[in-house]
């Protein structure tokens, strides 16, 4: 009996030691386990390089088109290449058709990149599903579908045409009503856009909602008629509102919404932590910033940049920037330009841009 008891005790002690060893082993495994993938990564160095920072990046509002032009011309290696098809290495291997003068009849569909040595014209409902580079001017018919278009001359766009990515002209752009202008539309000259066109980013000198008036630019550009003073250094905080016909020589910072009355002149900047509403015929020599929406009254003249974390509405015939002062209108959630509104420079939104 005593022997059995000793045996049983010895077995129990052995099992106990075994269990302790297993628990200890488990603890070690549980402690080491989270580090195993890290040790593997540290030894393999699959992601050891610094995070990528583009050392050459700089802001250029016509970047898409300039990059495409450069890539295509460098790949072609001959700006006067003969007509025909070639396969070129751009971002990937691409079929490029070289045409001297393009005139696409209605309903045509093109599935490859186009390089047009002179001008391009298209009829109704043409689909150009890859990028197009026109060394002359482009006349796009109504209801066309384009991926992207760069032209060294002017571009005119027919009603209801849709761009999926971008368009860019060295000269001017004229877009008829109800066009969708992709994610980026820019030009080196005037950019006139018809009603109900939508956009995300526009750049032009100027961008004009509606037709450019005859006898432009001097007649319309009111900047020459106003002596622009450098915005004042002094700051006025939290005015309840600015009544009509006010003249302020100070920057204004408001913790709430702010309304500026008609015919007021502000020689300074304005920042509102909620909405900012400018009446008609208001002149501001500085910038306008708001955490809420910004509304610029009809016939107002803003010499600075407009930036809103919500929406920007530019009422009829208001002007932002001048020929000599390129500025920006940025509304995170949307930008609306009413007829006759004019912006010298950039108009941009992450939401929906609309010509009303």
């Amino acid at each position: 009996m005593a022997e059995d008891g000793a045996l049983s005790k010895s077995r129990f002690a052995g099992a106990y030691r075994m269990m302790l060893a297993v628990i200890l082993l488990l603890l070690i495994v549980l402690f080491v386990l989270p580090f195993v993938p890290g040790i593997w990564e540290f030894r393999k160095r699959q992601d050891a390089a610094p995070l990528f920072v583009s050392m050459d990046y700089h802001k250029y509002p016509r970047y898409f088109a300039s990059s495409f032009r450069k890539k295509l011309i460098d790949s072609l290696n001959d700006p006067h290449a003969a007509e025909g098809h070639r396969e070129l290495q751009l971002s990937k291997r691409e079929q490029v058709q070289i045409i001297d003068q393009a005139d696409f009849p209605p309903g045509t569909s093109v599935e490859h990149i186009l390089y047009v040595s002179r001008d391009l014209a298209s009829g109704d409902s043409v689909a150009l599903r890859k990028e197009v580079y026109v060394r002359g001017s482009a006349r796009i018919g109504p209801r066309n579908r384009l991926q992207a278009l760069a032209a060294d001359g002017d571009i005119s766009i027919g009603r209801g045409t849709r761009f999926l990515r971008w368009l860019d002209a060295e000269g001017s752009v004229h877009a008829d009503e109800a066009c969708r202008l992709g994610i980026d539309a820019a030009c080196g000259g005037a950019f006139a856009i018809g009603r109900f066109c939508s956009f995300m980013r526009l750049f032009g000198l100027p961008v004009q909602a509606g037709e450019l008036p005859a006898g432009d630019d001097e007649a319309r550009d009111r900047a020459g008629a106003v002596e622009v003073q450098v915005p004042s250094d002094s700051i006025e905080r939290n005015p309840a509102s600015i009544p009509p016909l006010s003249l302020k020589s100070a920057s204004i910072i408001s913790a709430e919404s702010l309304t500026v009355g008609d015919y007021s002149v502000i020689r300074g900047h304005i920042k509102a932590h909620r909405d900012l509403v400018l009446g008609t015929h208001v002149t501001v020599t500085g910038n306008l910033f708001a955490e809420g929406s910004i509304e610029i009254g009809a016939d107002s003249m803003i010499f600075g940049t407009i930036f809103s974390q919500q929406r920007v509405v530019i009422r009829a015939s208001a002007q932002i920037g001048t020929k000599d002062r390129i500025k920006s209108v940025i509304g995170k959630k949307g930008v609306v330009l009413e007829q006759g509104a004019r912006v010298y420079g950039l108009v941009m939104t992450e939401g929906k841009g609309l010509i009303a």
């Binding site: 995070l51 905080r237 950039l346």
Partner: protein
């Protein structure tokens, strides 16, 4: 009685950890699912502000050419910019390097300091007196600014309320060793999530003293930098904020920096940061709470930020406290479900919430492999705990004895003539 105090302190520690955990979670959730405020860098403006770019240099012959080469290529109009390399008592060839560049580029206007106070704040004060620009940008000498960064930072000042701007710092020498890889993770979390979330939520992003800038007129009006403070960047953040200016964070104004490659250098750096930051905490806490220009949420966040280098001290004491209670057999503070919540808060939320922030930042940066190193941050955590605690007591002694802090430069590791670039 002693046991009761120990138990109350432990509960206090847990409460502090939970509060900071909630803050980290809010930031992380904001970056993952919240609305992201638009940054100013898309602004196109033909009337750019005049800039003075200040580069404090003390024995920087190894790195001076790299930053100057990059800055002269910046896409900022030459007539709107001046670069002021500040040779601050260098005993190596920094002076010769700077003079060579000044002879070639008229907009490089060196400042050689051989007398007066030493250190970055004093050097900046001396350079600000000479600077002609409306905006002062500061880059440490080991930084590698990209071509477009000056414009990206400068356009923020179009907002009339912006007093200072902070860009994103990206370590360049990540490949060196485990420490540089872990510091890379810390920076990623700190900028990609923490700073950006504070910008999104309109709280108080922090000016970091480099890859950023401020309005010259306002800093001169506020009396320049206080040379007694080691964290001149944190001090600037609070001085501007309590006087009605905003600090904005520019996540896409990215710039490479060199992080410490040895634990000794890192220890000195983190201890100095803690000492400087806590010095600011002692000085500005009441002014922050009493400022008429800050919203309640900015005050709350500003207070959290001020105490960020006190939390490790509280936690360190809490760990010692819990060990004492354990060996006294007095750890039964709660029972049942409440105990589980207590345990969860203490271990999971408290210790590891910042790690979620780092993991999320890696995800946002598309860095899917380096995220595997995340568990190793536990070593940094205890390392920082120790040196931040020491820095806290340094600051405490500074305050009590009116001792003046001496500026310590972080050692450089880069070899002359070979800026480490991305692969």
């Amino acid at each position: 009685m002693v046991v009761l105090i120990l138990k109350i302190y432990l509960l206090f520690t847990v409460a502090v950890m939970v509060l900071y955990s909630v803050r980290h979670y809010l930031f992380t959730l904001n970056r993952l699912f919240g609305e992201q405020r638009m940054y100013y860098q898309d602004i196109v403006d033909s009337e750019l502000k005049t800039l003075s770019v200040l580069i404090p240099m003390h024995n920087e012959e190894k790195v001076a050419t790299h930053i100057l080469d990059l800055l002269v290529q910046a896409d900022y109009p030459a007539d709107r910019i001046e670069i002021i390399p500040i040779n601050d008592f260098s005993s190596d060839k920094t002076r010769e390097v700077i003079e060579k560049y000044a002879a070639r580029y008229p907009f490089i206007k060196p400042l050689h300091r051989t007398e007066g106070e030493r250190g970055k704040p004093a050097a900046l004060n001396a350079a600000i007196e000479l600077a002609q620009g409306e905006i002062i940008l500061v880059f440490d000498a080991d930084y590698l600014p990209p071509k477009g960064i000056l414009k990206s930072i400068s356009v923020c000042f179009n907002d009339p309320e912006v007093g200072a701007v902070m860009g994103r710092v990206v370590p360049v020498n990540t490949r060196r060793n485990l420490l540089t890889r872990l510091l890379d993770l810390e920076r990623t979390g700190g900028y990609q999530v923490d700073q950006q979330a504070r910008y999104n939520l309109q709280l108080m992003p922090q000016y970091g003293g480099t890859v950023g800038g401020f309005r010259k007129r306002e800093i001169v009006a506020l009396g320049g930098f206080d040379t007694k403070i080691l964290a001149e960047d944190t001090e600037l953040t609070y001085r501007l904020s309590i006087n009605g200016w905003k600090v904005v964070y520019a996540n896409r104004a990215e710039c490479y920096e060199e992080v410490p490659e040895t634990w000794e250098v890192r220890a000195r750096q983190i201890r100095r940061w803690s000492r400087g930051h806590n010095g600011v905490m002692f000085r500005y806490l009441l002014q922050l709470l009493g400022s008429p220009f800050l919203s309640l949420r900015e005050k709350v966040d500003g207070t959290f930020l001020l105490f960020v280098y006190v939390v490790p001290v509280i936690l360190f004491a809490g760990l010692l406290d819990s060990l004492t209670l354990f060996f006294l057999g007095q750890m039964e503070l709660f029972s049942g479900l409440l105990f589980l919540i207590f345990l969860g808060a203490y271990n999971n939320f408290g210790n590891f919430a910042p790690f979620y922030q780092v993991g999320t930042a890696c995800l946002l940066d598309g860095a899917t492999q380096r995220i595997l190193l995340l568990p190793f941050l536990i070593f940094n955590f205890f390392f920082n705990l120790w040196y931040i605690t020491r820095g806290f007591f340094d600051a405490l002694i500074d305050v009590v004895t009116w001792r003046k802090a001496k500026w310590q430069k972080t050692e450089r590791f880069r070899k002359a003539g070979s800026p480490e670039r991305i692969a």
